[in-house]
Amino acid sequence: MNSSQLLGFATFAYLAASILYIGIFVFRAKKLGVAAALLLTLGFLFNTGGIILRWVESYQQGIGHAPMSNMYESLIFFAWCIAIFYLFLEFKFKNRLIGAFAVPFAFLSMALASLKDPDITPLVPALQSNWLIAHVVTCFVGYAAFAVAAGMGIMYLVRSASLEGGKEKNPAGLLATLPGLKMIDDITHKTIVFGFLWLSGGIITGAIWANSAWGTYWSWDPKETWSLITWFVYAGALHARFTKGWGGKRIAWLAIIGFVAVMFTYYGVNYLLSGLHSYGGG
């Protein structure tokens, strides 16, 4: 058994869980709920095991380090964060219908990872720091929350479009099974709030790390700048809600736009722009 196998199982478990969650949503098959949650939990356990085993394997190869040092490893950790964050939401809000809009993100992240080079590579000198774990964990907890918030935003738009279309007259209609708009709106907002705190933490840990490695806590490197742009998008969303009472579709759209900025910060910058985080590519 090696980490790649475990992570392969995790990918399939997430795929199966995604299909079931979408099934629950499309066919209103609430009976699938337990199976979906179990598969997701199983995938999460494989994912956890895969990360731990990869960590151990790196030590066996004499280049021990936390598996958070390149795109492959970060995508796997991203999937892990989405899975645990979603499981927490499901537990807290006692609702499995939102899974269709959150769990597929975990699968997509794993699927994307499978296209990357899975070799364990030694850490370049710049990454040999205790700040590596703090920085990656804070960032990805935030990213995972934003992924789920975007899923909730999509769900909100789907739901409100169906309400406006007047299809809801039939109470047995497909979308009527979704939680109420108010609840989706509330989850979206709370998730953004949570993500914002962690994103701020991620930017701050990155700044402290940069200062200890290069003597500059902020150098307007593209990754830094894009994380700030993302921060502004969510700061704007929060201010609009707190002071202008924005909600509903506007916040749903902001959750989606914010996540696009997150994805560009995380993924796009590495491939489209150059900068200090270039080792994050490949």
């Binding site: 030694p122 000198p125 500059t216 700048t225």
Partner: protein, 448 residues
């Protein structure tokens, strides 16, 4: 005139301006991530054409984050933050320090959560019993037109969280300004065995800045993994101040040297052209010595009566490693010649003693040097921001009141409460208090 002033004030205090600044700052920041920063003018002319390059120069796009217009946006952002804080603070402070016992009874009874009870006891006795209860709520008491009002609250100070977040950004800016006014950034290359008494700023003229001490580099080492990728850049640095070796430190990329407010970071390296460090040890006596030499020049270790010289070079072999031909002689006057590969140890057997011999190329170590007295402000601001965000988002100001009015056979108890956020959390809190009151037999409460 007064109205005008208010309008200007209201403009700078507005959330609209904040949203506008967020948007403009975010949009403007994109420019510098797409257009490469800090290149020569020639680069922009080649890539974007002379016309656009001229415009870039006019708007300082090659260094846009320091341009007048971008800094102006940050100033606007700061003014917005300051004015908004001053504008909102009195109101927030009033809510923090407000006397909950002085509130209008009508409003208290209509709070989002409320419940009425009847008690067989007179109001004064119920009030005493409530005050004697062990609960996280600490009640204050007041007489209101013959009735009794009890009030308690949790976390009034949490309302300051939002102010802390806003001020934290200003604290970070203060740190950045202190850093740019009183600090500097520069670099210096030091040859192994050499030392530096000045560093060079990252400005157009690479202005030298004299140090009031000296930094010596005893050794630079580039370690590689088996795959050839760099594993570590290591420099042994020594601080010499007033003729004394004050401080020795081996620095690596994430572990700089700090002395007198300056920090020396390992940032680069460069091989010297045809210069080598040779280490040699007498295996019998363990006496050893280190020499720095170039090709062709002869070196003598007088105590051991050794003379040696690099006469030739072959290579490079894998990873840029060379082999060097050495002419090695001692008092026996029977010189030997041998090829030594860089970084390898050789044992040279001589009649009088055996020597462990190694040779490696010499490097300059590249150090980034920074003085930033503002960095602690930045860190304090960061801490304040995280703490403030946590308080502002996850903690709430919760208030409860108990209004006790006399009735014919006992008294009427109105329990009411409100929270400025996290309504669900407060509901639980409120229900728990309600249950506590109901279960307390000495209160003799009946829900109405």
């Amino acid at each position: 005139m007064q109205k005008n002033k208010n309008e200007v004030w209201a403009f700078f205090a507005s959330v609209k301006l904040a949203l506008f600044t967020f948007f403009i700052l975010a949009a403007a920041s994109v420019i510098g991530t797409v257009i490469p920063q800090g290149k020569e003018m020639q680069f922009y002319i080649e890539v974007f054409g002379p016309g656009t390059a001229k415009l870039f120069q006019l708007l300082n796009v090659p260094d846009m984050y320091n341009s007048w217009w971008f800094v102006s946006l940050l100033v606007l952002f700061s003014i917005n933050l300051i004015v908004c804080t001053i504008d909102r603070f009195p109101n927030i402070w009033r809510l923090v320090t407000m006397d909950n016992l002085a509130l209008d009874i009508g409003r208290i009874l209509k709070m989002p959560r409320h419940q009425t009870f009847h008690s067989d006891l007179p109001a004064a006795e119920v009030a005493l019993a409530v005050e004697g209860m062990s609960t996280a709520w600490k009640f204050d008491k007041a007489d209101r037109d013959g009735a009794i009002l009890l009030a308690a609250q949790k976390g009034p100070w949490t309302r300051l969280g939002v102010i802390a977040v806003h001020l934290s950004i200003l604290v970070i800016f203060i740190g950045a300004i202190i850093g740019s006014l009183l600090g500097f950034k520069g670099s210096v290359m030091i040859r192994e065995g050499g030392s530096a008494k000045q560093i060079y700023l990252y400005d157009a003229g690479n202005t030298p800045v004299p140090l009031d001490f000296e930094v010596r580099c005893d050794r630079f080492e580039l370690q590689r993994y088996d795959t050839g990728t760099p594993k570590a850049y290591i420099s042994d640095l020594v601080v010499i101040d007033g003729g004394q070796e004050i401080l020795k430190k081996t620095i690596t990329v994430n572990d700089p040297l700090k002395y007198k407010g300056l920090t020396f970071y390992q940032s680069s390296y460069q091989p010297l052209d045809d210069a080598y460090a040779i280490e040699i040890e007498n295996q019998t006596t363990a006496a050893s010595k280190k020499f720095y030499m170039g090709r062709g020049s002869a070196v003598e270790w007088k105590e051991e009566g050794l003379k040696f010289r690099i006469t030739d070079r072959m290579g490079p072999y894998g990873m840029g490693v060379y082999r060097h031909k050495l002419l090695f002689n001692d008092n026996s006057q029977k010189p030997v010649e041998f090829w030594a590969e860089e970084g390898k140890m050789y044992i040279v057997e001589r009649p009088e003693a055996d020597y462990i011999f190694s040779l490696r190329p010499l490097f300059f170590t590249g150090l980034q040097v920074a003085k930033d007295p503002g960095v602690w402000w930045v860190y304090i601001g960061c801490g304040m921001m995280l703490l403030g965000l946590y308080v502002a988002f996850f903690l709430s100001h919760r208030k409860v009141w108990i209004y006790l009015a006399e009735e014919e056979s006992g008294s009427r108890l109105h329990l009411s409460g409100t929270s400025n956020k996290n309504k669900i959390g407060f509901d639980n809190d409120f229900s728990a208090l309600m249950e506590l009151l109901e279960r307390n037999d000495s209160l003799k409460l009946k829900r109405e």
